[in-house]
Symmetry: C2
């Protein structure tokens, strides 16, 4: 049904998008339609990330989609980085506009303008804002969820009194919001590190990143957190009076995760039968399928089981579409990656049991009806853990150490390569690029996020990537 | 501090937006920035409306911001209605686009295109979709929250096998989602009725509406639900094979509520001291204020009270900013309309009590600390009811009956006027327009939503409006 991953991974990805009814291409090049099943997963991602952002003290707000072209030009690197990707509105209300407006590719500039207005004194700091929004970056080589002309994301923007405070906050978001969410909910182990200068966000002094390995050995950048130094504060005059009454410039940060994580979810866990959704993320954790039913008794019993599961805290739903062949429905839930399938037929029911099938690995076992509400939550925890462990083991298997750039370039054909950053340098970065290999991030020898890119003992993680 | 409502209602509205830190104007004409306190209220609206939409069986999805210009042209009335308000992107990725794309003013067209793709058989119907999104309609006379060039909303789009089913669903959304939310959560009594043909959504065969009275006697359209007949189904070929294998055209609906409801909230309940937020909506239902504190004991006690209130299901928060004068903080919470203020000072605490102040009407009473967690939820219910009852009484007071159009035109200077629709007609509509009075909706003699606009006994509710 799906192209096997080993045969053609990109085609497998496209097949999953179609067959599991996750997304369609929009009519305008590079745009996408997120279908209900995928959107419900995105809503769960939003819930989980939003809760962590609020726990980190940031408040949600909303800033306009349209930004005057002149705003972008105030930060030189920023405009240089984003100009080639802009969508520009030149006509509004039937008239040519005097100043064209750009559709936001990101909102540092417009939010900077308002931060400058709202921040007066050290008492107003830190100012911790976040918004959930759509952004537009014109894509020449779009790929659904991974690189689309329009995508959904959250973008956090903060202003701080000191560089230390800004740095600490950017790192806190990376660890407590992004990494925690990705590891604990998405069950995707991520490497957190710092980008090399060439790979920084346009206008940042430091870009921190979460990098994950997909099942084809390639890397996906899952989220980034930027230290912006005083670049935007200077461009938009975000300043404050300190405790001594002296005017000071703020230090700002910005950070975001997007619908790109949907692509990561699919490619980190999906197998030849389709998606595999980690239970903590799943909008539907368990589906109760009526195998067949002659007099409504099986459906009634199945509905009762759903109620009991819901009461036990399981996000369960009923599939009683008995006019559709059972096999087709089972395959469909498998494709959609629902963690647990509970099959209820008249024979099993007569024996007081149901058949429980886990999605993460082969496993099908009869469970007595009266133990179901106890067993399913335990099974869900086990699936969550096993998906994570499987992804981690695969990444470790496919990560090797190298000492020379040549070695790294060749080994990166199959996965991640760790190599001393001192052995790479700018020339090495260029050499790797010839094989479409990039430095995903720099980490310390202990695998931590470095304090600075100038540490001579840093390790570069290099790979091919999406 | 605020301009009194009786002196200048529009200026009072603008003052509340500024002083309560609800919204700012964006840099591009007609756009707005929704600040954190207001955005938290919007998030609560989204939660409550979204839950009701899901309970009505619709699923969320996401469709692109950009729509090819040609899509809009497929439905004649639709393009005629929206053309003057469009924002058009002509440049993307540094190049002139071959076909300009419009920024969605609403999504019937692009969603219609995908409905046509997804609906094949009667088994696929009804198809019940909803999206939360931003839309753009270029505004010549913008007013924050009420009429902005960009606004946030939900737009539901459904396809049905029969006209009856489509009509019933559009009416169900109006009653079970919109009216229920507005009355029960926003505490705003709304009149539900049907729009006259001139006031229909561009492309609809029938537009149902919720109309509320603001505190200046003017009407605000709070939400609409449209029967689209087969207009969009024909334009986008949304058809299906019925049970006999015959090709049939679908019947579609669309329905939406937006950030405009924020304006309704402010103008339906706000008074000369600021906003008054109904407790069921409030993101913060009770604020516990430390009046003053010398040794940290009052703050510790106040924090304990917040915990007890939260445990009792109250959305409570602490205000321990003792370096800011107490009076200024109290005024600020009043401005922001938090339903209950709990003042904790050392003297009261020594007596084992706190001072509880309700926001809806004068009322300040000492309550023993140990009864607080019981009393506050009761008080919140009482405030919810009293805000609703006050709004309803005001509306009833300011609604009169008229028998002639002249009478209606003059009485509408002060509120709503009910007049037999038979006494108005097209000529009457024109006459009313001369006084900036419009037919808000038609209702039955019993105040219900009419089955048809052709019923000879309908009553027109006319008013000035936002």
């Amino acid at each position: 049904m799906l192209t096997p991953q080993s045969e053609d991974f990109p085609r497998w990805y496209q097949d999953v998008l179609n067959k599991a009814e996750l997304a369609d291409n929009g009519p305008v090049r590079g745009t996408m339609v997120i279908r209900p099943y995928a959107y419900a997963l995105w809503e769960r991602m939003v819930d989980e990330v939003d809760g962590r952002i609020k726990a980190a003290g940031a408040e949600n707000a909303y800033f306009p989609l349209f930004i005057p072209e002149s705003y972008l030009q105030r930060e030189a690197e920023h405009v240089e980085g984003f100009s080639p990707e802009l969508a520009v509105v030149t006509v509004g209300g039937g008239r040519e506009l005097e100043e064209p407006v750009v559709v936001r590719p990101t909102s540092e500039t417009v939010i900077g303008e308002f931060m400058a207005k709202w921040v007066q004194s050290y008492r107003d700091l830190p100012l911790l804002l976040n918004q959930w929004a759509n952004v537009v970056r014109w894509e020449l080589r779009p790929r659904t969820f991974l690189r689309t002309s329009e995508f959904l994301w959250q973008e956090g923007h903060t202003a701080h009194a000191t560089e230390d405070d800004a740095r600490a906050y950017a790192r806190r978001i990376l660890a407590e919001v992004y990494r925690d969410f990705m590891v604990e909910v998405l069950a995707i182990p991520v490497i957190t590190g710092v980008k090399i200068p060439q790979e920084r966000f346009a206008g940042a002094t430091n870009t921190l990143t979460c990098e994950a390995m997909m099942r084809d050995g390639k890397a996906l950048q899952m989220g980034t957190s930027h230290e912006l130094g005083q670049n935007f504060a200077r461009a938009f005059q975000i300043d404050y009076l300190d405790e001594t009454g002296t005017q000071q410039l703020c230090w700002t940060t910005s950070w975001g995760v997007s619908t790109r994580m949907m692509g990561g979810l699919i490619m980190a866990h999906g197998d030849d039968a389709g998606l595999r959704v980690p239970p903590r993320l799943a909008a539907t954790q368990a589906v109760v399928l009526v195998v067949r039913d002659e007099d409504g008794a099986v459906t009634a019993a199945a509905r009762g089981l759903v109620d009991r599961l819901v009461a036990a805290g399981v996000r369960a739903r009923l599939d009683d579409r008995i006019s559709t062949p059972f096999g087709r429905r089972a395959t469909d839930w498998e494709l959609k990656g629902v963690p647990v399938r509970i099959e209820v037929g008249p024979r099993d029911l007569a024996e007081g049991q149901v058949v429980v099938v886990r999605r993460d690995r082969p496993g099908k076992e009869p469970i007595p009806v009266e133990r179901l509400a106890q067993e399913v939550p335990v099974l869900l925890s086990s699936i969550q853990q096993s998906l994570h462990d499987e992804a981690l083991a695969r990444r470790d298997d496919r990560t090797v150490d190298a000492t020379t750039v040549e070695e790294a370039a060749s080994a990166a054909a199959d996965g991640f390569v760790r190599i001393p950053w001192a052995a790479v340098g700018d020339a090495g970065v260029e050499r790797l690029a010839a094989d479409a290999v990039t430095v995903r991030c720099l980490i310390t020898a202990d695998g931590d996020v470095p304090e600075s890119v100038d540490d001579p003992d840093l390790v570069a993680v290099v790979a091919r990537s999406y």
